[in-house]
């Protein structure tokens, strides 16, 4: 067991350690700090949209900067580092190795994140999280934009280093008695998402450099005034970031694969189909990037190809949902906090996927494109699926990290409020999109339907905000003063099913 809070060590011992659980802890705390920072921006954005006209944010430039940093923070500084935290803690244990394959590289990958986060936050760029040229070249104010570019560059390198480490750890350092097929699904999820990172990220790394030289005026790759093509950037960007969506979601599904069977007190329905679906997802993730660009004037053939590529991801995602439901079927389910988060996440994953099919179908896409539908759709993934899976897993690993139990009642209240809030915000945003509200707007005309929907969404966001405060109190208080956890069976499931907690890995 690694009881970080029970045997306190000086903080620099954790900071300068390269042990996988120490790096995992650093990832964990950093990602949660950014969760609250990015979430606070979201609340401000929602408060601004409560009514037409200027509410709490003085001008549209500030608003634009806030949603840019909100998105960048929660994707790159919360979701990805959180997954790395979980991977660092559990992947070496699951493949029965003493540490990550390259411990120092692991620590370096982590230590790239704080400076990158500082660049993004101190710059506070305004060109949205996808920095589309020509706006990002000719109009976005520097040095914010340049700081964002450098920040993302560093984060990309950090992701690639982390991915290399996970791949080598799983493929080369797993115990010789363990076949690749026996590697637990959580580790498989990291293998799949790391392979996607290795293939996808370099494209964006190139695009970022081109963007930077375009901004400096020495090149014109994406600048139409210099003969460049802004659409080329969108292809490069989405070739990285559509697969990146799966990089975000696959580890969250892997976390659900840890939680669901254990709290259903049944083995997973089909380990093999889980593996198959992960591998399939990581491959088809590369076949759908330009569905983000259906309205850029692509030909009918191109649109058809990317629609088919997008729909191809549905069966693999559906296999995961089936696997979860079939595992819970006839199970002796214990609805403890991690389990309700995971189950809620699956329900929202299903809803998000159904909305995705609507987006993919070409004629309907023109109804929803660039509208609040899209905002609602991807937030159902990033919040409803990924954050729900991640928070569920955080509760699940809490006794492992701290040696203490969180407060169960507060965890359940946190879930119920967050679930209600998520439905209120993001389902409503789908409807708002059908009413025609464009995304990324600071103000809107006083159309009665828009006002009502925005108000429901804002109330939902505030409910989530309150629930997150409860969550924070629960985590901080329980880490220091919570009931001591029974480390063999912290969730009182009967102890028949294996916990990854039980592996022992001494510090070195």
């Amino acid at each position: 067991m690694v009881l970080e809070f029970q045997k306190p060590r000086p903080i620099w011992q954790i900071m300068f350690s390269s042990h996988h659980t120490d790096v995992g802890l650093l990832y964990l705390i950093t990602s949660l700090a950014f969760l609250f920072m990015g979430g606070a921006l979201a609340l401000a954005l929602r408060a601004e949209l409560f009514l037409p006209g200027s509410q709490i944010i003085g001008d549209s430039m500030t608003y634009n900067r806030m949603f840019t940093v909100h998105g960048t923070t929660l994707i790159f500084l919360f979701i990805i580092p959180f997954a790395s935290a979980v991977g660092n803690y559990f992947v070496p244990i699951m493949v029965r190795y003493k540490d990550m394959a390259y411990p120092k590289l692991n620590a370096i990958a982590f230590w790239m994140i704080p400076p990158a986060g500082a660049l993004v936050w101190l710059g506070f760029a305004d060109f949205t999280w996808y920095a589309t040229p020509p706006y990002s070249i000719i109009a976005a104010p520097g040095p914010a934009a340049d700081m964002w570019i450098f920040g993302l560059k560093i984060l990309g390198i950090s992701s690639v280093l982390g991915a290399i480490n996970f791949i080598i750890t799983i493929l080369k350092c797993k115990h010789p008695d363990m076949s690749l097929g026996q590697v637990p699904l959580l580790a498989w999820s990291f293998l799949s998402s790391s392979l996607i990172i290795i293939v996808a990220i370099p494209t964006f790394a190139a695009a970022l450099l081109m963007l930077l030289t375009d901004r400096l005026g020495v090149s014109g790759f994406f600048n139409p005034a210099m003969g460049g093509d802004p659409i080329a950037y969108q292809h490069l960007f989405w070739f990285t970031f559509h697969p990146e969506v799966y990089v975000l979601v696959i580890p969250a599904i892997g976390m659900m694969y840890e939680i669901i069977p254990r709290f259903s007190r049944r083995p997973i329905f089909s380990h093999n189909s889980g593996v198959f679906a992960f591998v399939l997802l990581s491959m088809v993730s590369f076949s759908s990037w330009a569905h983000h660009m259906q309205a850029t004037g692509m030909s009918f053939t191109e649109k058809t190809v990317f629609m088919v590529g997008t729909l191809a991801a549905v069966p693999a995602s559906a296999m995961h949902v089936f696997n979860f439901v079939a595992t819970m079927w006839n199970g002796r389910i214990k609805f403890a906090t991690p389990m309700i988060w995971a189950v809620g996440g699956i329900a929202l994953f299903f809803s998000a996927g159904a909305g995705g099919v609507v987006n993919a179908a070409m004629p309907l896409d023109f109804q929803t494109h660039d509208s609040y539908w899209v905002v609602g759709h991807f937030h159902l993934f990033v919040m409803g699926t990924i954050a729900f899976g991640s928070i569920g897993y955080l509760y699940y690993m809490f006794p492992y990290v701290t040696g203490r139990m969180y407060n169960e009642r507060m965890g359940q209240v946190h879930f119920v409020m967050s679930f209600i809030g998520t439905v209120l915000v993001f389902f409503t945003q789908h409807v708002l999109g059908l009413y025609g509200m464009p995304r990324r707007i600071y103000d809107y005309p006083p159309i009665p339907e828009w006002i009502t929907m925005n108000q429901i969404a804002t109330v939902g966001a505030m409910i989530i905000g309150v629930s997150m405060v409860i969550f924070l109190i629960n985590m901080i208080y329980s880490a220091g003063k919570g009931k001591e956890a029974d480390t063999h069976d912290p969730f009182n499931l009967g102890g028949k099913y294996y916990y990854p907690f039980e592996a022992k890995t001494p510090h070195h």
Binding site: I138, I231, T296, G297, F300, K303, F322, Y442
Partner: protein
Amino acid sequence: MGHHSNWPEWVYVGVVIALMCWVGGEAWNAERLIEHIPADAEIIKVTGQQWFWSFEHEDGTKEIGVLHVKVGKAYKFEVTSKDVNHSFNIHDYVVLMDAIHGRINTVWFAPMEVGEHAIQCKEYCGLIHYNMRGKLIVEEADSTS
């Protein structure tokens, strides 16, 4: 793992695949019909720039912010931009096309009823993106204004 039969999963996957084929087929067919531009469609050049829309009719009439069209006629928009990316959107008629500097994208529609509709920009374009709005006015066919 794997000591039980997996057939329910494969049946389920088959159903999902069939469903996706149906959605894809219907979408393909609908989009094919939608993209067929009538030969007699009148061309309107639409130019987006920070932060307003301007229109040029076939007869050379220019309008800024407000677009007048006749009911029952087909119109083909040739959409472009003078600066950053915009997206030309008449939500009520599901007209949506990105306006991109250096490119001319086409989209068409045929207004069926007299009325007023909002025109808006759906692609982030900076400071006043939120208020890059215009108005579409659909008039009687025989009106001479």
